[in-house]
Subunit: 118 residues, 2 copies
């Protein structure tokens, strides 16, 4: 008992920080890169895997599924032999590109700052 505060209630989550909602979608080690690559072209599973440095199939699938559930990417399956699956951003997914670019912009500034102070 006696945690540092009462356990989180929905209101607190909602009122303080929609930032977290966004981070839950684009955060993590892989999603930014996946999104980054999908913003140019639609891509197939294997192409993504080759373009992502050392991701395991398990992880790639997991990240893609999450993005799919969040309505960010679209999974188009062509039941051919051999099978082909293409991933792309949804229209809603595209609305996140400016955010991604804002993050990238600041990231560059930050890297410069760090580099020069070293």
């Amino acid at each position: 008992m006696a945690t540092y505060n009462k356990t989180v209630n929905e209101n607190e989550q909602r009122c303080c920080c929609p930032v977290e909602a966004t981070l839950s979608v684009i955060g993590g080690k892989w999603k930014p890169l996946i999104l980054w690559h999908l913003k140019e072209n639609t891509m197939r599973y294997n192409s993504l895997q080759q373009v992502l440095p050392g991701i395991s199939p398990r992880m790639l699938t997991k990240q893609l599924r999450e993005l799919e559930n969040d309505g960010i990417v679209n999974r188009e399956m062509y039941p051919e032999i051999p099978p082909r699956v293409e991933y792309s951003l949804t229209d809603f997914g595209r609305t996140i590109i400016p955010v991604l670019e804002a993050l990238a912009q600041w990231g560059i500034k930050y890297t410069d700052q760090k580099g020069s102070s070293k």
Copy 2:
């Protein structure tokens, strides 16, 4: 042997995704909230702890130190009795506020989208 790709080299990290650099600074469970609260006022250690839902002192200290090392927050110590320490954003730290707000904006859009599709 035979990982899915050769281990990451610096170039790949650097060229593809400054987004990650930014996320390494503001990402995670606590930092967005800390930043969110600091963007209005300067705050003391205990005030922060009270305002953050259930954070342990260990975590709070850790997050603050990291933000400090990244040049985002400033730690001002007043050697009084009892001691007082005030945290605030540095000038460089303030440059990240627009990014935070972009994230928040999209987070709201996202939450609406989710809510309406349920």
